[in-house]
């Protein structure tokens, strides 16, 4: 499963729904919590790279939004886990997320200017598509604890707004590139 997950994360835009569902099968609640938290942290790290590199105000604003919103979601997750008195469990999917992100961050670090902006925006769109599909189609239906399920459902509302926003950012940057 690890090999499948690694491949999945290194080519998120090419994922099929079936592939995501298969890769996510079998995670327990605490593993899902860990993977969700990890996914948030990764997007915050992408945003920090963007803030260090971009001069585009829209990209900057989006990156600031990602840091603000994903930090808030993870604060909520931490509070919920504390309330439930449980610890999230590291797992192969979380590790694959980190591995995939390491490669993507290296790729982004090598870019500058408009090329960076387009790559960051495209990755944000693909990443949110992947995570949202995973949360919506696999984690929420399978998670057992009702409070964790409710939390993921609420978090997904935020992530879908981000996906939509990222889509508009990609469109704006591609439009600018054609002009």
């Amino acid at each position: 499963m690890t090999r499948l997950n690694t491949a999945l994360l290194s080519a998120v835009a090419l994922l099929s729904a079936a592939g995501v569902a298969h890769a996510q099968a079998g995670l327990n609640d605490l593993e899902i919590a860990h993977a969700a938290y990890t996914a948030d942290v990764i997007d915050i790290e992408y945003a920090k790279i963007a803030l260090a590199k971009t001069k585009n105000p829209e990209v900057r604003s989006f990156a600031e939004l990602m840091i603000r919103d994903h930090t808030a979601v993870n604060e909520g997750a931490t509070a919920l886990l504390a309330k439930l008195n449980v610890e999230p469990q590291d797992n192969a999917f979380s590790q694959a997320l980190v591995s995939g992100a390491t490669a993507k961050k290296a790729e982004l670090d090598a870019l500058n200017g408009a090329a960076f902006d387009r790559a960051y925006a495209a990755n944000e769109l693909a990443y949110h598509r992947l995570v949202n599909k995973t949360v919506g189609e696999t984690w929420i239906p399978t998670v057992q604890n009702p409070e964790v399920k409710a939390f993921l459902t609420q978090a997904l509302v935020t992530f879908r707004v981000h996906e939509d926003h990222a889509g508009h950012m990609v469109g704006a940057l591609n439009g600018a590139a054609k002009n």
Binding site: R68, G76, T158, V161
Partner: protein, 110 residues
């Protein structure tokens, strides 16, 4: 037509709100829930002197910010509230500064 300065931002959120204008009798507090990245209700009718209180039910922080930029709440975190006092008649359009597609309107009557 939108008018500026129709609402005065109350500096402190929640119960620390300062007294309302003395000439407005029996002001009411109108509550707006922020949930699912929307202001609910999205349109509110209040009288001058009334209080509008936003409570954020989303995980992400939000604001209520006048489209003209004349007033705005601070970031309202999950479960927190922030208030303004309506001070003059007119129509005020507002949005979330972090998520500008979230919009609302307040009609202030004398």
């Amino acid at each position: 037509m939108l008018r500026r300065s129709l609402l005065a931002l109350v500096v402190a959120a929640g119960p620390q709100a300062p007294p309302l204008r003395a000439e407005v009798p029996a002001p009411r507090t109108h509550r707006v829930e922020i949930q699912g990245f929307a202001f609910v209700p999205s349109r509110l009718e209040v009288r001058a002197g009334d209080v509008v209180e936003w409570t954020n039910r989303d995980l992400a922080p939000h604001t209520a910010t006048d489209d003209d930029g004349t007033w705005g709440t601070k970031a309202v975190k999950h479960g927190a509230s922030s208030r303004i006092v309506a001070t003059a008649p007119g129509l005020v359009a507002y949005h979330c500064a972090f998520h500008p597609r979230m919009t609302g309107a307040i009609v202030v009557t004398p």
